[in-house]
Amino acid sequence: GAGAALRPCSTRVALEGINKPVIDRIIRVDHAGEYGANRIYAGQMAVLGRSSVGPVIQQMWNQEKDHLKKFNELMVAYRVRPTVLLPFWNVAGFVLGAGSALLGKKGAMACTVAVEESISEHYNNQIRTLIEEDPEKYKELLQVIKQFRDEEQEHHDIGLEHDAEATPAYSVLKTAIQLGCKAAIFLSERI
């Protein structure tokens, strides 16, 4: 509008010329997702930390911690606002992780498979969006998202390797969790 100037900014990232609304959403929802994933693994570790799958979960959790750290940096660099629902994802993620772990090791793995599948699909959508926008301009962001998508896919495969599908009511559990993920993604993009 009249008088609206480009917001002056001195972060490492050049904010001029990027599609701010699209990038905002992407970073906000990804940050929320990694935050939630962290809490899910924390919940699983709280129950299964001393079991035989403890080390496996711990390793996946460590990777999620790195992911979250990266999105924290991107959030500051692009001056994106975090989702207002973070405190809610804090609790919901932990409850989901702990709850699925209480169903046993296979239950925890089933939860991992469901969540990681949702996240991989979600990252693929974002990669498509960014490539449609301008692959050159968003090269760094694309690299990050591609790498993270590959790592989430690995987690998904690890979950399958550990008999996720043998969980009682596997398909029901998986559908329910994925529905929750879709809702979480929808909300975190907007609020």
Binding site: A2, R7, M75, R81
Partner: protein, 283 residues
């Protein structure tokens, strides 16, 4: 016969003047003579001047100094600010501003009669000035030519700098505040307020990515709004009461955040103590 020719001429001239097809005040003779419409245009204006662009059908003249309607409105509103202390945030001020640019007073018709655009324009300009000021300060700190201020001092100075921009218009500012609260204007005014507060925190070095992001901005917004209201009522020399109020509010906010983190660490310590006690008892 002549009288009948002029009204359509005036409309064309007014709209042509508003369209801002050129910056060179080619329209000046026409605009200033809009009052003298029914007399012959003053001699000396006609012959040497180039024919009026759109009136003579050269509306397609898009040289480098073609300006968009947005830019024209921007210029009119900026010029109008000079007249706000006298006329308030009104169409009169806008009309006066348009006159100084050599435009017809009908230019005020481009805007709402309650001065909404003028006020929003002013707020936007102030916010831009503030951002530039903070950016300059940040550069100085980065170059090592200035000390990095502690957070409370930074916030205090930023809010004071922004509020000082209101001083020339302070008499009429309460009127502006009420216009900004009109339902029609709330999205824009809220947007301007939140981006200003976000800017201040950004330059203060805020890097929070959790709920603190919201807490900090909410607190600063409250400080800004209350200080602004205090300023409206302040009759002390140099607004020293306002700045003292601001200092106290910022200090309160700092205390609250310190207390909050103290409470949190105390809480964590208590929980650890209880867990330790439980382990001991279970053994």
């Amino acid at each position: 016969v002549r009288c009948q020719q002029y009204p359509p001429l005036r409309a064309l001239q007014a709209s042509a003047a508003l369209r801002g097809a050129s910056d060179e005040h080619k329209k000046e003779p026409w605009a200033s003579s809009s009052q003298q419409h029914f007399d012959s245009p003053p001699a000396g204006h006609q012959p040497e001047q180039k024919p009026h662009p759109s009136y003579t059908g050269q509306g397609g003249q898009e040289s480098e100094d073609y300006e968009s309607e947005e830019q024209l409105q921007h210029r009119i509103l900026t010029a109008a600010l000079e007249f706000v202390p006298e006329h308030g945030w009104t169409a009169e001020a806008i009309a006066e501003g348009a006159k100084t640019l050599g435009l017809s007073v009908a230019a005020a018709g481009l805007f709402h009669s309650d001065g909404s655009e003028l006020i929003l324009h002013f707020v936007s300009e102030c916010n831009t000035k503030l951002s530039e000021l903070l950016k300059k300060e940040q550069k100085l700190v980065q170059l090592g030519e200035a000390e990095k201020k502690p957070t409370d001092e930074f916030l205090r100075d930023a809010v004071e700098a922004r509020l000082r921009m209101l001083i020339p218009y302070i008499e009429k500012w309460p009127q502006a505040l009420s216009v900004l609260l009109l339902p029609r204007n709330i999205p824009s005014s809220l947007n301007l307020l939140t981006s200003m507060i976000d800017d201040i925190w950004h330059y203060a070095g805020d890097q929070s990515t959790d709920f603190n992001w919201y807490t900090r901005r909410a607190v600063l917004t409250a400080i800004y709004n209350t200080t602004e209201l205090v300023m409206m009522q302040d009759s002390s020399p140099g607004f020293e009461d306002t700045w003292r109020f601001l200092e106290n509010r910022v200090a309160d906010a700092m205390t609250m955040s310190n207390t909050a983190s103290q409470v949190q660490s105390t809480g964590e310590a208590v929980v650890q103590g209880l867990m330790g006690a439980a382990v001991t008892v279970s053994n």
